[in-house]
């Protein structure tokens, strides 16, 4: 089958969507290689199709068997990014997986968002511990006048009227402990969730 301009345009459109999807979580070089391979598949399928009465029908059949570009991209994310995150637990791989998972549905979005919040709060505690020696008079904890603890952090004057701001170096080990604990807990939850999400997606992307 020799493709017309319209057929070529349809293939370029498919590959464009695929490349855009892949580039959101793969390096440009890996994405380009994947797109080149899928293009090779399409060209081979077109060549094997021989002479057909209706190019459009034949081409749509080829692309349908290949699967929608988003689905192919999802399979790549599953095999590459999420496998790396679930098996190695590398921080950046886990973050990339969460970012990608968040784009796949509402439930996944909120789950990934919750985990991002967990990481952020843990990191915030670590930042507080780091800032204490640098700004000793601005990092501490708020208490009510009758001695009830409210919260800890960086003091912005005037924000918490009616509370007493205490500066104590005890905040460093406490913030480090809580921050590190939260990061570990969130990371462990993130890995478990990515593992579960990957298995569920593998099931839905399995050959039928």
């Amino acid at each position: 089958m020799k493709l017309t301009d319209s057929g070529e345009s349809r293939i370029r459109g498919y590959l464009y969507v695929l490349e855009r999807s892949l580039r959101s979580f793969l390096s440009p070089a890996v994405a380009a290689d994947a797109v080149r391979e899928v293009e090779s598949h399409i060209r081979d399928s077109v060549m094997l199709a021989g002479d057909v009465p209706d190019e459009r029908v034949a081409l749509e059949g080829i692309l349908e068997r290949l699967g929608p570009p988003m689905r192919v991209a999802q399979a790549y994310s599953l095999e590459l990014v999420m496998d790396e995150a679930a098996t190695t637990g590398r921080f950046m791989a886990v973050l990339r997986s969460l970012a990608h998972a968040a784009t796949t549905g509402v439930t996944a979005f909120f789950a990934a968002f919750g985990l991002f919040v967990g990481y952020s709060i843990g990191a915030a505690f670590i930042v507080v511990a780091i800032m204490k020696p640098i700004f000793p008079n601005n990092v501490g904890f708020w208490m009510t006048p009758d001695g009830m603890f409210v919260s800890g952090g960086v003091n912005f004057p005037g924000v918490r009227d009616g509370l007493v701001f205490h500066t104590s170096y005890w905040i460093i080990p406490i913030a480090l402990l809580i921050g590190y604990g939260l990061l570990l807990l969130t990371h462990s939850l993130a890995r478990r969730w990515i593992g579960w999400f990957r298995n569920r997606r593998r099931s839905s992307l399995a050959p039928r």
Partner: protein, 114 residues
Amino acid sequence: MMLENWLEQLRRGTLELAVLLSVAGGPRYGLEIIRHLEEFTDLVLTEGTIYPLLSRLARDGFLTSEWVADEAPHPRKYYRLSPAGRGRLNNMCREFDAFTTKIERLMKAAGKEV
């Protein structure tokens, strides 16, 4: 519905073995692997999902890949088993064989014909 899910799990679990077997006899490119699987199994693949699997197997060191530009009007990416891949394939075949033998024995013991 339950049987369908179970079948999907079975297919999913054996797809890696099937792909490694497809390139055991020599290098093959993507569409060739898919056609080979279709010829010998009833795994009707969503064709696009085979490439990420090939990519992962190559990344894990079980396959090596090479672009060949001069045998068709367009370049093709050929995959072949690496020594590590051959070792993995041998182990998988042995384990799969042992597994199916045990299930067959279990089915015979239950009076089910295999």
